[in-house]
Amino acid sequence: MKKLINAPDAVLHDALHGVEAAHGDRVRVSYDPAFVVRRDAPVQGKVGLVSGGGSGHEPMHGGFVGVGMLDAACPGEVFTSPTPDQMIEATKAVDGGAGVVHIVKNYTGDVMNFDMAAEMGRGEDIEVETVLTNDDVAVEDSLYTAGRRGVGVTVLVEKICGGAAEDGRSLQEVAELGRRVNANGRSMGMALTPCITPGSGNPSFELGDDEVEIGIGIHGEPGRYREKIAPASQISERLMTPIVEDLPFSNGDRVLAFVNGMGGTPLIELYVVYAEVAKIARERGLTIERNLVGNYITSLEMQGCSITLVKLDDEMVRYWDAPVNTPALRWGV
């Protein structure tokens, strides 16, 4: 294992120091319990947005803290959901009297820790709504599993809810909107290579020199199946088909298309994939009204990509376009 770190156990702590040093003009960092919070939090009268999850998915979530997006992010250890005390303290730190939305990716650990936070936080007198994201169509038999995983749509939910919260919308409205984005979003991912967590030091799975793993999550877990590597056009089709057919998206729909890198894939390849996604969308009669291409929800150094489509409505477009000023997403400000 070769990594730019000081010690496996120190990664999160050291990286938080880097975040504070680099973005101290926009965010503050609490180390114990660990969370990243908007400099100006709590914003009085505004609904607070808190997310969190394991580290190793950067820039998610810490890179999305700032005006127009999250008020706070709770980073767990690498690929390990954060703990209830982080969530409780972050929630308190961002409550401006209008309640707080927790954006939670649907993983057993994340859900249980946020649940415990809610139970333990009772009596704090902060109204909390939870938006659970579960957009990963790779998980098929969700009745016999922990349910679909929350992946790419989470970034979009955070941005769109962030815009709505900034616009003064109520706790219920922000949460409803987040749920609507999730309900209208579908994702699927694939890997060319595994990743190595600092704690384990070993590849998360073994892949042949000509194999790809289809239907992966974002924690280095193996996917649904593996197959021979194919041209980007076929791989894009492989991911797009289950996405488009699951919602289902139909001719005439307006969509946001998000091609996300898993962390180790060169941007030039993501653009190659985006070209294919645009072509497939066109063939299916979908109009891509907004897009995002880049590394936003990653799995350490894994090579591969995921595709997310969200069926848009006017309100989503409006809050997607709204100003945002975070380390990783910035526009309109």
Binding site: E77, F79, T80, Y107, A146, T197, G199, S200, E221
Partner: protein
């Protein structure tokens, strides 16, 4: 025959030792069907738990186990944090106020712990989780006639339950995403649960 506070502390030290010793094994099991952090998570948690135990004024076994519970909840994260946290919290609550713990109290406390884990995680027997080691172990305690025998039977039952997870298809937790591919791997959480019973037998059986 009864369990004292100091024996409980010994149990926790041994459990922490087992987790540290088997950290890489737990990581490897979790790499195969999960995200490869279970050993690291449990080790971080039990290290923290021992730290907390050192500094604390502990009235009894129950107090010690509640301290462990809180340390785990606030340092482990992932699925194991809330699950083990709940387990220890329920056991600790049940044992609080008893300076000595007999077999009936101990088995009863474990039953509460198991119920807590199932309430939190919704896993049933056969879902390929730590519950598959817990259920037979708790039942062994409940049907034992004396503490020593009960502890040994529980450790053995946990080991068998752990091994029996291998052929199962996971239906809860991260491994469930793998569907059929989760077969032929032993569940990491069931494995750490076995170490918990193993260290209990070593520390608490006379």
């Amino acid at each position: 025959m009864a369990i004292t506070r100091d024996e409980t502390l010994d149990w926790m030290r041994r459990f922490a030792g087992e987790v540290a010793e088997h950290r890489q094994e737990l990581v490897a099991l979790d790499t195969a069907i999960g995200d490869g952090d279970h050993g690291t998570n449990m080790n971080r948690g039990m290290t923290k738990a021992l730290e907390k135990l050192e500094g604390a004024e502990l009235a009894d076994s129950g107090a010690a186990l509640k301290t462990v519970a809180m340390a785990l909840v606030s340092s482990v994260g992932g699925a194991a944090g809330p699950l083990y946290g709940t387990l220890f919290l329920q056991i600790g609550n049940a044992l609080a106020g008893h300076s000595e713990v007999d077999l009936a109290a101990f088995a009863g406390a474990w039953r509460k712990g198991l119920e807590g884990v199932q309430a939190r995680g919704k896993a049933q027997a056969g879902d390929k989780t730590m519950v598959d080691a817990l259920i037979p172990a708790v039942e062994a305690l409940e049907s034992a006639s004396d503490l020593n025998a009960g502890l040994r039977a529980a450790a053995q039952a946990a080991e068998e339950g752990m091994k029996a997870t291998t052929p199962l298809i996971a239906r809860k937790g991260r491994a469930s995403y793998l569907g059929e591919r989760s077969k032929d791997h032993q569940d990491p959480g069931a494995t750490s649960t076995y170490y918990l019973f193993k260290s209990a037998a070593e520390a608490l059986a006379g």
